[in-house]
C-alpha cells in the first residue's frame, strides 16, 4: 500500500524568506508524485508533478521539488515566498495500478508573515 507523510502540519515564515515543505512517501512500486495547493475557499490546484526523467521538477509560482528515490522524499521548495503563498499544501502519490487515484498527505499549512 502507498502512503504519504507530511512531517510539518504548519510552517510559519516571513515574506521573502526561503521555505521547504517536507514530503516522504512509502510505496513498493514506482510512483508518480504531486504537490497541490489549496487556497482558502478554493479547490485544489496542481503546483507540479514528477512522472519520470529529471528529478528536479519546476512548477508554477516559482515552486520546485526534488524527487529523491533513495530517501523516498519529494520536498517542495521556494527561494523567496510572498504573502500570497499562504495556503495549504498537499503532497500526493499515485501509481502501481491503472486508476491513478491519488493518495494524499495530511497537508502543511504555510503561513507567510509580512
Amino acid at each position: 500500500a502507498q502512503s504519504v507523510t507530511q512531517l510539518d502540519s504548519q510552517v510559519p515564515v516571513f515574506e521573502e524568506a526561503p521555505v521547504e515543505l517536507r514530503c516522504n512517501y512509502s510505496s513498493s512500486v514506482s510512483v508518480y508524485l504531486f504537490w497541490y495547493v489549496q487556497y482558502p475557499n478554493q479547490g485544489l490546484q496542481l503546483l507540479l508533478k514528477y512522472l519520470s526523467g529529471s528529478t528536479l521538477v519546476k512548477g508554477i509560482n516559482g515552486f520546485e521539488a526534488e524527487f529523491n528515490k533513495s530517501q523516498t522524499s519529494f520536498h517542495l521548495r521556494k527561494p523567496s515566498v510572498h504573502i500570497s503563498d499562504t495556503a495549504e499544501y498537499f503532497c500526493a502519490v499515485s501509481g502501481g495500478d491503472n486508476t491513478d487515484k491519488l493518495i494524499f498527505g495530511t497537508g502543511t499549512r504555510l503561513q507567510v508573515f509580512p
Binding site: 485544489l44 486508476t99 491513478d100 491519488l102 495530511t106
Partner: protein, 114 residues
Amino acid sequence: GAGVSQTPSNKVTEKGKYVELRCDPISGHTALYWYRQSLGQGPEFLIYFQGTGAADDSGLPNDRFFAVRPEGSVSTLKIQRTERGDSAVYLCASSLSGGAREQFFGPGTRLTVL
C-alpha cells in the same frame, strides 16, 4: 473553458436523511474521481470512473455510499442514511484519461450532517 463544477456548494442535512452531490467534469474528460476531505486531513479517495463504469470503488467507506455516471459525463455521489461522521468536503476531479495525467479539482461540496 469551464472547469469542474460541483453542486451544491453547501448542503446541510439531518442525520438519517438521503443526499445527492453532483459533479460536472471538464468536457471530454473520461476519468472522474470522488474524494472526501475531513477537517484537518488530506483528501481521501472514494471512487474512480473511467467512462460510465466504476473502475475502482475501493475507497467507499460502506454500502451507504454509492456513485453513478450513467452517460460518462456528470456524476452523482449518493449517501443514504447520513451520519454525523459523513460531514466533510466532497471533492470531485476529472482528467483526460488514466496514465498519471493531471487531475483537475472542483471547489467541493461541504456536507454538514446535524
